[in-house]
Every structure is written in structure tokens, then in C-alpha cells.
Amino acid sequence: MATYSVSVALTGSGGAGAMTAGQILLDSASKAGFFGLMTRSMGPQIRGGEAAALVRISSVPISSLDDHYDLLVAFDWGNITRFAAELPLSRDSLILADPEQGDIPEAVARHGARVAELPLKALAGTIPGARANMVGLGAVAALIGLPIDSLIAVLTVQLGRKGEEALAASTEAVRAGARAAATLPALPKLPEAAPHDGQRWNISGNEAAGLGALKGGIKFVAAYPITPATEILEWMAPALEKTGGTLVQAEDELASINMVIGGSFAGLPSLTATSGPGLSLMIESLGLAVASETPLVVIDVMRGGPSTGIPTKSEQSDLNIAAFGLHGDAPHLVVAPNSATDCLSATQWSVYLAEALQTPAIVLSDQAMGQSRVIIDKPADSPYVASRLVAPAGDGQYRRYALTDSGISPMAIPGTPGSNYVADGLEHNEKGTPSSQAGDHLAQLDKRSRKLDSFDYGDNWADIEGDGDIAVITWGSVTGPVREALARARARGQKVKLISLRLILPALPGKMEQALAGVGRVLVVEQTHSQQFAKFLRGHYTLPAEVSVFNRPGPLPIRPGEILTRLAAWE
């Protein structure tokens, strides 16, 4: 019995090593030639506390969790009820439990999955220096058909520093687990991995966003830590330092966004990263960037809201603030990567767009993408690199906000003689001198919207796949499960189109009209409570008469099967 992917949940209290095991599992899958994806579910404790590593291994590239876990390994039951809802199982799933840890809690048992007992701790006890999580790992590998050698290879690299003994203990534990698994009920197994030439990468969405920023040309970052965006900054700090850029930790988000404005005004492509609460604090100054036409990028890694909300869980509910949070008429860019991998290219593109259009770009990532780690083919190089239209040395008559056809005016960088000007958030005339005249206001409002509306975004504005009378319109990390659902729908003969919007703002009604040609029914899928995306679509686009919305707030991920059910109703 083979399958193209298996999903494994490893859970336990803090210290049980579920996270370590998950990490090694993912690395081993990569070593063995598979693709993969790992997300984490953590408790509110800073250290310790219950945790789950959620790993999916696949013979094809994936960017979605599966409908349920094929295998759940519990090192102990800790406070698992707190997130049992995030661990769907089917009747075919297998729960692997250590009998020493007591009964399976009802919240887990209720799915009616098969159960197998394995004395993980006791087995580890028989090997000096070994830990139960390694025994579990061995069992997992054997059950899903992952070569034990790939595990050992990863352990060898990782435990290299810790010395022979540690390695020997872990290796032995893994082998013991694998042996023990022989007596357990069978699971569908991974096929042999296809041979491949190209490089494979192991990268998280947050790292990918950081890399995309650097590849786009970012040289200056000012930021304030916040979950789940901090890792972007933690990755970028040393990377910038090495490549000749600067990252500064600001006193708060009001400072970080304004430092970024300063850095960009001074000539460097500049960026900050934050999450909902921080984005809220940046709102006023984002308006300043719009009015003063200062390019910059803000990555918002969305988490559960409103307010402090659920800092460690994902949701798409910052769409509203990102698109409409600014006071006044303040056209700007909103770009949404639609997978952990796309965090790289979408962020890179955003840097390019912000610089080309001299306006802020908000990149809407989320916890599910940002903190998931994927095994992917090395991403192709992208041509998008910051390139600002700069003004040459002048004669003192420089018009910073000149009314050009494109709406884009050459921007003088300090140091350029004779083109000095004063950037202003007050409405102004072409020179930048404050003006409250109706004519100047209208001209500058027109210019600032014209430059966004008339720019050529090419095909990047959306991922459009397939054809049919039905289109699923979605965005962001929910694209993963939608894509997988559509693949399944097509496999059973339904004709469906995917429209995953990468460019949220500006809206491009012409392109959407084209994309919707021949589409009679639309299913909108999003992870919010108030249908923010569907309302946004209705407000900005002409949709077919029949629109249905599948929305749910976080933290429960939207699963391919749930989407499939909605599509089936239209069959």
C-alpha cells in the first residue's frame, strides 16, 4: 500500500523532544529525496509546555497540510486537550502511544483511530543515553517507509559535535524503534523517492521572506520583535551584517517604521517586519510614506486577532487593516505570498514594486507559512531587484512631486547636488511646498493612484490554474489546501479554476475580468471570521452572480477535504 504523502504528528510536553524529533524527521525525508513540510503547534508557555511537530512527507512538492494525520505519536499526553482540535485523525490513522503515559485522552480517542502501544520510554531505558523521542522516530520511519539510513545520516551530522557516544545512543534508539515497529499495524508507505539532480532547500517561510528581501535589494532594516515575525529579523540580522547592510532594533514600532522611512529617504531600500499589533502602530507613518512617496516594505506575519489575540496561531484577519487601515485616500501596495516558498519570491517582488512605485508595500504573510519549514526544489532566480527612478544633480528647480504621465517622479537622494527638497506628509505642490489648494490636492491624489493603477504587474498579480465554470478565489497560505483540493477535484473529473491573488492592492479589475471569463460560480476560501476577503472582492471586483464563501477563523487550518466537500456540492 503506497501513497504519495504521509502526515505525522509528534506530540509531548516540553522536554519530551517532539520538536527535535520532527525536525530530524523532516531533514531525513529530505536526505532520502522527499519533499516535506513541518508546522508546529505550541502552548502559551515560554519554555516547556505541550507542543506538537506536524510533519508531512511527500514524493511531490506540497504546500498544504493533509486532511488528517496518518500517524500520531504521543511521547506523553501532557495538556494535549488544549490543541487536540488541531490534530484531526481518521479511522485509518494510527495512534502510537506509550502505555506508561496512561489512557488516550477522549479528545484524541474520539476520532476512532487505530491504536498501537509501544513502550517508548522503557525501550529507551534499555539503551544508555538514549531518549524516547529517538525510539519513536525509528518507529515512525519504519511505519511510513522512510529509510532508516537517512535518519542515521542526519543524526550523524547533528550529533557530530556531541561526540561518538551521543550518536551511538541515538542511533541505537532509532534502530530499536524501527525494530519494534515491525509488530505494529501497517500504514500506507511512501513510495521510493524519485531521483533528482537539482538542489533541494530546507527553509522556513520566515527565512524565505528574509532571503527574498535581501535578494530584492533591502539594505536597511529597523524593527521591534514580535511573534511570529521575529524569526525574519533574527535571520536577517546576521545576514545583513555579513552582506554590508544594517539591522537596528528600535524602541517600538513607531520608531521602526519611521527609521525605515528615514533609511529609504536616504537612499537605501528599507524594510521592517511585524505582526498585527505592530502593524497597527505603524499605520500613521505608513500614511506618511504614501504622502511623501517614500518606498518601503512592511512584512506582516499575521496571527490570531483581534488585539493581542492568539500570538502563536495563524489567521488571515489582517487583510482589512493592510488594505484599508490608512486614514485619508492612501493608495499603496499589498502583496500576499501564497506558500512558504512564495514568501521568497513575493517579498522580493514587493521590494521591487515598492521601489519602482515609491510607495509602501505591505507583505501579508502568516504564522502558518512563516513558521512552517519546507523541503523544496531550489527556487528559480527572480529578475526583480530594487531599482528606483532617481533624479540627477539639478539646478535648484527640482520638482520632487512632478506630475508625470506614469505618476512616478524621479526621486533625489541626499547627496545629489542642486536637487535638494523637503519630503512632506502635508499635501503639497509639485515642488513639495505645503499647499491646501484643491487643485494641488487633486493633482497629487491622482498622481499617487495613477502610478499604482497604470503599472504593469504582468502575470504575478495572481496564480491562475486550470479552467472551468467554477473558480475558487483565495489568497495567502490558504492557497495550499485549495490547490490540493482542486487537484483532487480535477482527478475526479470536475473542471475548476484556481485564482490565488498575490497582488491584493491595487485591485486590477481588467485582469480579474479576464480571469473570470467563462466562470459562472465562485467559491471564496479564506481564514477569517468576518469574510474580509470576500467583502474585499465584492467591493473591488465584479463577480459572477453565484458566490459562495467558505471562511473560518484560525487557529484550525483549512484542510483540502473541507474545500472539496464544498466543491462537491456544486457537482
Binding site: S30, R200, A222, E251, E284, T416, N420
Partner: protein
């Protein structure tokens, strides 16, 4: 590269007409500033003059250098970004007591301790001029002429130089708009001093605080050399009356400036992701 002959104060003035009331102290600060810029002899294009919002914060537009008129209270953050991104620029920041000490107080605190090389001028008129006369953090508690606080604020005013010292500013001075020559000299010294330099300039608002004309009788030059240690400065400022002008403190903390030499390429960095 352009060859520049020495510029006069006039060369640093723009042709934008100030919105200030006739008689406002800020005119004198503007003159002192352009005079200082001329004396500093930095090319106009190498100067970034940053401000927030308020009557005083309008000053960059009246000069002939690069400038940023930002939002209320955030000038110091923009300025830090400019200087960290472009260490070659001379960065000057100016604004009001409301802008810098009320809404902008946190950035003031952190600019003092971060000690990025720039010069910050607060044009202190002990009032919000732009919004037509409310109390600022430097307003005395019994000033009752604001409709918002008709009984006075009842709150002790902040002493900006004392706060700057406690927060870690590296150079602290006070001037008076009625003595633009001294103000100009203080700005020159502030700009030349490495790190974060803070200059409080008493600049009367003749519209909402006409009584501030009397400041001319209260100010007196500090007879002493600037304090050079924080402890010494603390002791001296403990008995300051708020009207002593001159350089009050000149510290020697090194300015903050992260290194920026590239040691690796992006390709080197990417290699870490290969699995």
C-alpha cells in the same frame, strides 16, 4: 563631484515664506540655523534636516538642504534611519516642545541613549503653537490660558536638559532665540560633537505666550566650562534655574554606528538552505 565655493547663511535659506506669526521666536532660530550651516561649511546636499509637526517643525522647508517634514513626534526616528543608512550625511533635527517631549518623548529618551551622531534642536515655547495654545510638557502647572486646562495643568513641567542627561545624551546645551549668535554657535558645536547632541532653545510664542517676551530678562550665560562627566553634570543641573544658556554638558561616549563592511555574498548566505 561639484566644486563648491563657501556658502553664506543666505544660501541656506529657501524662498518659501514662513507661516509663522510676525514676531515669533522661530525666525531667529531659522537665522541662527542657516548661519550655523554656513559656518559648518558642509555642502547643502550633504545635510538632512528632519522635523515633526508644529509651528517650529516647519523649519526645514525654510532652509535650502535636504529635509523631511514627517509626522508629529517621530522626527528623531526618521533621523536615526537617515544617519544609520547614510553615515556620510550631517543630520539635524528640529521641532517643538510638544513634538519632542510630549508625543515624541519616547524617541527622545532612546535617541539620547542610542547616541547616533546627530544634533537635535527643540524650539521650546512652552506651548502648542500650531494647535492654538495648549499646555506642553514644559508649561508651568499654573498657566491657565488654555481652554483645555482652564485651571492650569497642575503637573510639574519636564526639564528637558535634565531629562536628556538622565537618558544619556552626549552633548547638552541651551540657547535663547533672543541671542541668535549664541544659538548659532551652539548648533555649530553640537553638530561638531560626536554622538547625540541636544540643544534646547527658548523660543517665545508671541501669540499664545506673549509673556515669554520677558525671557530676555531671565536668561543668563553659563560662566562655566561644560561639565564633562555625567556625575558632574547631574550635580550642576540639580540647581539649574532653566535659564542658563551655553553648553551645559559635553560627554565623550562614542557615537553608535554599526559596522557595514560586506564579508559575504548572498550566494554564501543561500548555501545554508541547501539540505
Amino acid at each position: 563631484m561639484t566644486v563648491q565655493t563657501a556658502l553664506s547663511a543666505q544660501d541656506f535659506k529657501s524662498d518659501v515664506k514662513p507661516i509663522w506669526c510676525p514676531g515669533c521666536g522661530d525666525y531667529a532660530v531659522l537665522s541662527a540655523m542657516t548661519k550655523a550651516l554656513a559656518e559648518l561649511d558642509v555642502p547643502r546636499e550633504q545635510i538632512a534636516f528632519i522635523s515633526g509637526i508644529g509651528c517650529s517643525s516647519r523649519i526645514p522647508a525654510y532652509t535650502n538642504v535636504y529635509g523631511f517634514h514627517g509626522v508629529h513626534g517621530r522626527a528623531l526616528a526618521i533621523a536615526a534611519g537617515v544617519k544609520l543608512a547614510r553615515p556620510d550625511l550631517t543630520v539635524i533635527v528640529a521641532g517643538g516642545d510638544g513634538d519632542g517631549l510630549s508625543i515624541g518623548g519616547n524617541h527622545f529618551l532612546h535617541a539620547c541613549r542610542r547616541n547616533v551622531d546627530m544634533t537635535y534642536v527643540i524650539m521650546d515655547n512652552e506651548v502648542y503653537g500650531m494647535t492654538k495654545g495648549q499646555a506642553s510638557p514644559t508649561t508651568s502647572p499654573d498657566w491657565c490660558n488654555s481652554k483645555l486646562t482652564p485651571e492650569g495643568t497642575g503637573i510639574s513641567p519636564v526639564e528637558p536638559v535634565r531629562l536628556a542627561l538622565a537618558a544619556g545624551a552626549n552633548f547638552i546645551a541651551r540657547g535663547f532665540a533672543g541671542n541668535p549668535a549664541e544659538v548659532s554657535r551652539l548648533i555649530v558645536e553640537g553638530v561638531r560633537h560626536p554622538g547625540f547632541s541636544f540643544i534646547q532653545i527658548l523660543s517665545p510664542c508671541i501669540t499664545y505666550r506673549p509673556e515669554e517676551r520677558e525671557w530676555r530678562n531671565a536668561v543668563h550665560a553659563s560662566g562655566e566650562q561644560p561639565a564633562q562627566s555625567m556625575t558632574e553634570a547631574m550635580h550642576r543641573l540639580a540647581s539649574d534655574d532653566g535659564f542658563t544658556t551655553g553648553v551645559l554638558f559635553a560627554g565623550n561616549r562614542p557615537a553608535f554606528m554599526p559596522a557595514r563592511a560586506a564579508k559575504a555574498t548572498l550566494a554564501d548566505i543561500e548555501r545554508k538552505f541547501v539540505s
